[in-house]
Symmetry: C2
């Protein structure tokens, strides 16, 4: 199953510390698949059949409310696990996952999780660490929502995307996948209109350059100040 050389993948964080033999075994149980842009990987409420490791691309994790409002819980990048409902003792996926660009990922059948805990405890521990850091990250976002205003939240969201997935260009740090005003509003709990106004204002001040589904951060330090709420004009 591995066209992927085990040695190439060995330093992806979820595999850190696993011995060679176990890694090869674990990879042999995975299915590798390509997902084209916009494809739904799994749906909220659906029975959790698999868990995934993203090898290349970006995935949006989306929560949908009964009223139809949509919130982007996080973006998954390169080398991250997702859809790990089984590790959390869940039978159903708690969110949707949709590719933001073309992706390649590994997947394991969810029912394998029990075996994994026993046979590859290092991998299990790494997975739990992922869960732990997501809990923290989510809690931090909650605090941010409760205490910061919209501009700071938007600054923070863009800053994080730039740091995690940004690509250096001659103009600044480009967020490396198509992201709309609407998407950013769904990450920060506001409206696309407000995001548009904020980005326009920043563009005038030379902090960002942006276009259709495209954002480049030119003055990340300024943006960090805005995120911290230290600058008001």
């Amino acid at each position: 199953m591995s066209l992927l050389d085990a040695s190439l993948i060995a330093d992806v964080p979820p595999f850190r510390g696993i011995n060679r033999e176990n890694l090869v075994e674990l990879l042999s149980k995975a299915k590798s698949e390509r997902y084209e842009i916009g494809r739904t990987i799994f749906c909220q409420g659906e029975e959790a059949h698999s868990f995934f490791l993203l090898l290349d691309g970006h995935v949006r994790v989306i929560k949908v409310t009964p009223e139809g409002d949509q919130v982007i819980a996080r973006y998954i990048s390169n080398g991250e696990l997702f859809g790990i409902a089984h590790a959390l003792g869940l039978e159903r996926y708690p969110a949707n996952a949709v590719t933001a660009v073309d992706c390649v990922m590994l997947s394991w059948p969810g029912k394998l999780w029990g075996t994994i805990i026993e046979k590859y405890p290092t991998f299990a521990t790494n997975t739990y660490q992922t869960v732990g850091s997501r809990l923290q990250e989510t809690q931090n976002k909650l605090v941010e929502m409760a205490t910061k205003r919209v501009e700071q939240r938007v600054a923070n969201a863009i800053l994080k995307l730039a740091n995690q997935t940004g690509r250096k260009t001659d103009e600044g740090i480009l967020i490396d996948f198509p992201i709309s005003r609407q998407n950013i509003s769904e990450m920060t709990g506001t409206t696309l209109h407000t995001v548009s106004r904020i980005l326009s204002a920043w563009e005038n001040k030379g902090i960002v350059k942006s276009g259709r589904k495209k954002i480049t951060v030119t003055e990340d330090h300024q943006l960090a100040l805005l995120a911290a709420g230290e600058l008001y004009n």
Copy 2:
């Protein structure tokens, strides 16, 4: 160490499915302690020395921002684990924990966690399940913050408290520990003034009865409608 009879504690959720021998062993490694009301159990940023199981009482888990704003992440009740930084691969506590009433709890040294995974895998699995459900709960709160207005969030918060920790009285369901308007505002991302106004309005409609640090829900169904945003007047 166990004045506590193992058989009494055996059906506390984190211990579910553990065999008798392991349970006794696990309990023998715990320290049991009483914490009086208002006492700080641990602080955000402090090195994680122990993890805890609350046997009786209520604990507030609080996140503090660099600016000094305070957010109540959750209330811990009877039979719940908390301070489980070690299980998440963290070296420091990510929040404060303060008792909301007099409490009794068990604690284990954090450095034991490695041993626990090996020797009491069932307990470890239960712990991870706790983490999983907290991640979900936190994510749901985030969605709520992003999409619902203040009154709905307050309704939801009070409803949850009433369900989880409420005591039936002849007037309705009483939240069984002292909770101020300020506390509720810190749970819902608003101000004590707004909470006060909302409670006054509800009191006029006969949905709740409330006093100083005391709330009784008299019409929980009405409150559930408000939480869902189905009622506007």
